[in-house]
C-alpha cells in the first residue's frame, strides 16, 4: 500500500495524497477531493482495482469522510481511499459511472451524512422519508422529538428510565 | 322413467291437476334447487378437503377441530365469511361490482343441469348437453372480468385480463378433445355418451383408442386452466397479483367466487368422468329390480370416480408451480390445440375403419378370429 501511495503521488503531483498509518487495523490513503474521480478511475483501469467492496460515509472530528474500499482481483490487494469534506459544504464527485452499483451506496451516504455527490442522477434519501430533517449519523445530530405527529418517546407503559438518567 | 324432473312433473299433474307448462316449470325449478344446494354443499366440502389434503402433503395436519376430523370447518368458514363486512371500494363501479360474483356462481352452477348422476337422476338431459356444459361454464369469465374491472384496482384488472385471455383460449382444446367423444357417439347428450360406454375399464372412452387416451389429458389440462387452478392460476397468482381478480372482494362476495371455483372443480371432474370414464355405468350383476337401489349404486359409483379426479386436481394444485402468461398461451396454441386436432383425426380414422369399435374390442376380435 505504501508503494501504491508513492506511485499515486508520482502520477498525480497536484493532488494531496497522504498516507495514514494507524495504531491498529487497515491503513488508508487520504485523497484530495478534486482528484478523487481521476484517481479512482486510474486505480480501476491501470492498477486493476476492479472491485468496489464498499462505499461509506464517516465522520471524524472536523470533517465528513467518504470512504472507498477497493479490491484488486488479480493481485488480491485492498486499498482504502478517503476524502475529507468540510462539514458545511460536503461535495464530491460520484463514482457511479465506474461502478453503477455505487449509486445506491452514495444515496445512503447522502441520506445519513448529507454528503452531496455531484453528477449523481438520482440523489434522494433512501432509508429515511423524503421530508426527514437532518442527517442522523452526524455526530451533532439530535433526535427529533416527533416526526409528523408520531411521538419519538417510547410508549412502553412500564418503561424503565435510562441508566444514565438515574445517576 | 325418463328423468327425475319429468317424474315430479307427472306426479304434480296427477295429484294437483294444474297447467302443464306451470307444472313443468315448478318441477324443474324444484329439482334444480335441490341440485344446486347439493353443489353448494359439495363446494363447501371441497374447501375442507383441499385444506386437509394440502395439510397432509405439506406435513401438516390441517383443520381438525370443528366436528369429527374437522368436517364442519366449512360451516365455520361459511359463517365467518357471511358475517364479515362487505367492503366495496369507494371508486368501484358498484352495480357491476355487486353483480360479478353472482354471474360466476350462476355460470358454474348452471352446468350442473346436464350432469347425470345416474340413469334417472339428472335435471335435464338436453340433446345439446355437451355444448351447453362447455358454453355455460365460460360465463365465469364474464363474472371475473366484470369484477376485476369494477374493482378499480390495477392488480384486479391484470388478473381479469389474464383470466379472459386464458379461459377463452382454453375453450378450444377442451371443445376439440370432447369432439372426439362426440364423433364416436354421434350425440351431444350426456346420457347417450354414458350409455355408449360400459362399466368396465375396457369399455371406457379413455381406452377407446390412442386419440381419446391423449384427448383425456388435453381435456383435463384445459379444464383445469378454465377453472384457474394451479398450475394455471395466473389470474389469481397470489405471489404476483396479490389476489388477482378478487383482491377487493370480501365477505360473502368473496366466498361466492370461492364457491364458484370449488363447484367448478366438481363440474370438471364429473365431466371428465362422464366423457372418458363411463359416468354412472355399473356392471350388470349390480343392477337389481329395485330402481332406487340401482340408482343409489350408480350415484355412488359416479361420485367415487368424481372424487378420485377431485383428489388429482387438489394433488396437482399442491405440487406444481404456475406458468407464466405467455407460456400459458404457448402451451395452449402451440401444444394442446395441434395435439387435440391429431387426436381428433386418430379418432375419426378409428370410427371410419373400425366402425366405432374400441381399440380393445378390435384387438380381441382379431385374436378370436
Amino acid at each position: 500500500m505504501e508503494t501504491l501511495h508513492t506511485r499515486l503521488q508520482e502520477k498525480f503531483p497536484n493532488a494531496q495524497v497522504t498516507f495514514a498509518n494507524l495504531e491498529a487495523g487497515d491503513h488508508y490513503i487520504i485523497v484530495d477531493t478534486a482528484h478523487l474521480h481521476s484517481i479512482i478511475s486510474y486505480l480501476k483501469i491501470d492498477e486493476h482495482y476492479t472491485i468496489l467492496m464498499c462505499l461509506s460515509g464517516a465522520e471524524d472530528s472536523e470533517f465528513l469522510q467518504s470512504v472507498y474500499h477497493l479490491f484488486s482481483e488479480s493481485s488480491r490487494k485492498k486499498v482504502t481511499l478517503k476524502v475529507r469534506l468540510p462539514k458545511d459544504n460536503p461535495e464530491v464527485e460520484t463514482i457511479g459511472d465506474l461502478w453503477p452499483g455505487a449509486y445506491f451506496f452514495e444515496r445512503e451516504a447522502y441520506d445519513l451524512f448529507g454528503i452531496i455527490y455531484k453528477n449523481h442522477p438520482d440523489l434522494r434519501r433512501i432509508m429515511l422519508p423524503e421530508d426527514w430533517i437532518g442527517h442522523p449519523l452526524r455526530k451533532n445530530y439530535i433526535d427529533p422529538i416527533q416526526y409528523q405527529d408520531i411521538n419519538n418517546e417510547r410508549a412502553y407503559p412500564c418503561d424503565v428510565p435510562n441508566v444514565t438518567e438515574k445517576k | 322413467m325418463n328423468n327425475i324432473a319429468i317424474t315430479l312433473h307427472n306426479f304434480i299433474i296427477e295429484n294437483f291437476g294444474i297447467d302443464i307448462n306451470l307444472s313443468l316449470a315448478i318441477s324443474y325449478f324444484l329439482i334444480a334447487l335441490i341440485f344446486w344446494s347439493f353443489l353448494g354443499v359439495i363446494g363447501g366440502l371441497l374447501t375442507f378437503l383441499e385444506r386437509r389434503v394440502a395439510g397432509r402433503i405439506q406435513s401438516r395436519i390441517g383443520p381438525n377441530r370443528v366436528g369429527p376430523q374437522g368436517i364442519f370447518q366449512m360451516l365455520a368458514d361459511g359463517i365467518k365469511l357471511v358475517l364479515k363486512e362487505d367492503l366495496i371500494p369507494a371508486l368501484a363501479d358498484k352495480p357491476l361490482f355487486r353483480m360479478a360474483p353472482y354471474l360466476c356462481v350462476i355460470g358454474v352452477f348452471s352446468a350442473l343441469v346436464v350432469i347425470p348422476f345416474s340413469s334417472d337422476i339428472v335435471v335435464a338431459d338436453l340433446n345439446v348437453g355437451v355444448l351447453y356444459a362447455l358454453a355455460i361454464t365460460t360465463m365465469v369469465v364474464m363474472g371475473i372480468l366484470m369484477g376485476s374491472w369494477a374493482s378499480n384496482n390495477k392488480w384486479s384488472l391484470l388478473g381479469g385480463l389474464r383470466s379472459a385471455a386464458q379461459i377463452v383460449s382454453y375453450e378450444i382444446p377442451a371443445a376439440l378433445s370432447v369432439l372426439s367423444i362426440v364423433l364416436i357417439t354421434g350425440s351431444l347428450s350426456m346420457q347417450d355418451i354414458i350409455r355408449a360406454q360400459g362399466a368396465w375399464p375396457h369399455q371406457w372412452f379413455f381406452f377407446h383408442n390412442p386419440g381419446t387416451f391423449v384427448a383425456f389429458f388435453i381435456f383435463f389440462t384445459s379444464a383445469l386452466a378454465e377453472n384457474n387452478r394451479v398450475p394455471f392460476d395466473i389470474p389469481e397468482a397470489e405471489s404476483e397479483l396479490v389476489a388477482g381478480y378478487n383482491t377487493e372482494y370480501s365477505g360473502m362476495r368473496f366466498s361466492f367466487f370461492f364457491l364458484a371455483e370449488f363447484a367448478n372443480v366438481f363440474i370438471i371432474s364429473s365431466l371428465a368422468v362422464i366423457f372418458f370414464f363411463g359416468g354412472w355405468q355399473i356392471p350388470h350383476f349390480l343392477i337389481s329390480e329395485n330402481h332406487i337401489i340401482t340408482n343409489i349404486i350408480m350415484i355412488a359409483n359416479f361420485l367415487f370416480k368424481t372424487f378420485v379426479f377431485i383428489f388429482i386436481v387438489l394433488w396437482l394444485r399442491w405440487t406444481l408451480p404456475r406458468l407464466r402468461v405467455d407460456q400459458l398461451m404457448t402451451m395452449c396454441w402451440k401444444y394442446l390445440i395441434p395435439i387435440s386436432f391429431i387426436c381428433l383425426c386418430i379418432t375419426a380414422s378409428f370410427v371410419l375403419f373400425f366402425g366405432g369399435k374400441s381399440m380393445i374390442a378390435v384387438f380381441i376380435g382379431r385374436i378370436t378370429q
Binding site: 491498529a24 487495523g25 487497515d26 474500499h69 449519523l137 | 404476483e240 408451480p321
Partner: protein, 375 residues
C-alpha cells in the same frame, strides 16, 4: 438510467409493495408497466430501517452483538461471527482454534438454513407452496440444533468477541450428523419436486440474465456473483477462520438450463452450496480440535484508535463490517455492507423488459431480505 420514461397514456404505474406478498418483508417497487411488460423498476427501500448503525455508535462493542442478529435474521450466525471477527482484527485478539471451528460450524449450518429458506421461497413465489413448507420443515430441524447450542432459534447472538460462549457436545454432533443425512435425502426429493420440474425450469431459465461484468459493476457478491460464472468465494479466496483446512469446491453457475447467470443458475448455485456446506460440516465434525473456546480478554473492551474493514461470506454475499474506533469503549462508526443492498440496485437494470411474473421470480432468485437492505 434512473429517470423514468415520460408517463404517456400507454403506460401504467403500478405500486408493488410495501405489503405485496412476494416482496418478503417490506420492500416497495414503483413499476412502470406496458400491460404485463415492465418498463422500469424504481425500488423504494427503508421501510425496515432500524438505525442499527446509529445504535452501534451508542452501545459498547460486546453489546452491539445482539443487534447484528437483526441485520439479517435469516443468517444471524453469519452476521455474529463476522462482527466478532472484525472487532478481533481491530484489537488484535487471537481466537482459540476450537472456537474458530465452532464458528465455521455455525456459519455453515446457518448457510444451509438460509439457502433452504431461499429455495423454498423461490418455489413459493412461482406458485408452488408445498416445497416451501418442506424446506421449512427441514430448516426447523437445524433450528433445533441452534436451540441446543445457544438457546435461541432465530436471533442467536452466538458469538462473543474472542470466542464462542458455548461448547458443542458429542451428543449434539451426533444429532447434527443425523440431520445432515436426512437433509441429503430431502435434497434428492427436492430435486424431483422442484429443481427438475419442467414448469419450474421454464419459469427461471433465461430470466434476469446477469453477466459477470455487470455483476461486478453492480457490486454483487456471493451466490449471485458466482451464478454469473465468477470463481469467487471469500471462504476460499480470502480465507478467514480456518476455512483453508477444509476441502470444498466453489459452486459456480453453469447455465445448464439456459444462459449463464440466469435465475435458474442463481437457484442451482444455492442448491449446490447446501451440499458444499454439508461436506464442510462433516469435515469439521471429524477434525474438531479440543481446547478452550474463549480467549482471555480485558474487562472493558477498548480497541486502539484505528479502523478496519472485514468481509466474510454470508449467505447473501459479502458481509462487510467497517468499524472506526476512536479509542473509547464505543465505536465511532460501524458500517455494515450487505449483499442484498448491493443486489437491489441491479433490479432496474435487469428488470426492464421482464414480465411482472418474471420480476417476482428474478427478485426471489436474488435472495433479497428486506431487513438486510434497510438495516
Amino acid at each position: 438510467m434512473y429517470e423514468l420514461e415520460k408517463n404517456n397514456d400507454n403506460t401504467m404505474t403500478l405500486n408493488m409493495g410495501p405489503h405485496h406478498p412476494s416482496t418478503h418483508g417490506v420492500l416497495r417497487f414503483i413499476l412502470e408497466m406496458d400491460g404485463e411488460i415492465i418498463l422500469s423498476v424504481k425500488p423504494d427501500v427503508g421501510y425496515l430501517h432500524r438505525s442499527i448503525e446509529k445504535i452501534g455508535e451508542r452501545v459498547t462493542y460486546p453489546a452491539f452483538m445482539p443487534y447484528t442478529d437483526r441485520v439479517d435474521y435469516v443468517a444471524a450466525a453469519n452476521c455474529n461471527v463476522g462482527y466478532a471477527l472484525a472487532v478481533e482484527k481491530l484489537m488484535g485478539i487471537e481466537t482459540p482454534e476450537r472456537a474458530q471451528y465452532l464458528r465455521v460450524i455455525v456459519s455453515e449450518l446457518n448457510r444451509i438454513i438460509s439457502h433452504l429458506l431461499m429455495t423454498g421461497v423461490l418455489a413459493m413465489d412461482l406458485g408452488a407452496y408445498t416445497p416451501f413448507l418442506h424446506a421449512v420443515r427441514e430448516r426447523e430441524k437445524i433450528n433445533d440444533i441452534f436451540e441446543i447450542l445457544c438457546g435461541a432459534r432465530l436471533t442467536y447472538n452466538l458469538a462473543t468477541i474472542g470466542g464462542m460462549p458455548f461448547d458443542i457436545k458429542e451428543t449434539t454432533i451426533r444429532k447434527c450428523l443425523e440431520i445432515l443425512e436426512g437433509l441429503k435425502k430431502f435434497l434428492k426429493e427436492f430435486d424431483d419436486l422442484v429443481t427438475n420440474n419442467a414448469i419450474f425450469i421454464s419459469r427461471l431459465a433465461n430470466i434476469g440474465v446477469i453477466d459477470k461484468e455487470t455483476a461486478k459493476a453492480f457490486m454483487l457478491s456471493g451466490p449471485n456473483l458466482r451464478a454469473a460464472g465468477a470463481h469467487w468465494d471469500l471462504r476460499k479466496n480470502e480465507t478467514y477462520f480456518l476455512y483453508d483446512r477444509f476441502k470444498f469446491d466453489i459452486a459456480v453457475g453453469s447455465g445448464k438450463a439456459g444462459t449463464l447467470g440466469d435465475s435458474y443458475d442463481r437457484f442451482s448455485v444455492r442448491m449446490k452450496e447446501i451440499e458444499t456446506s454439508i461436506s464442510i460440516l462433516e469435515q469439521a465434525f471429524k477434525s474438531l480440535p479440543s481446547g478452550e473456546v474463549q480467549a482471555k480478554l480485558p474487562k472493558t473492551l477498548k480497541p486502539p484508535k484505528g479502523e478496519v474493514y472485514v468481509r466474510t461470506e454470508s449467505a447473501r454475499g459479502e458481509l462487510g463490517y467497517y468499524i472506526i474506533s476512536d479509542g473509547t469503549a464505543k465505536a465511532s462508526r460501524i458500517k455494515i455492507r450487505t449483499g442484498s443492498f448491493a443486489a437491489i440496485s441491479i433490479l432496474d437494470k435487469i428488470g426492464r423488459g421482464l414480465m411482472l411474473s418474471d420480476l417476482v421470480a428474478f427478485m426471489a432468485s436474488l435472495d433479497l431480505i428486506a431487513p438486510e437492505i434497510d438495516r
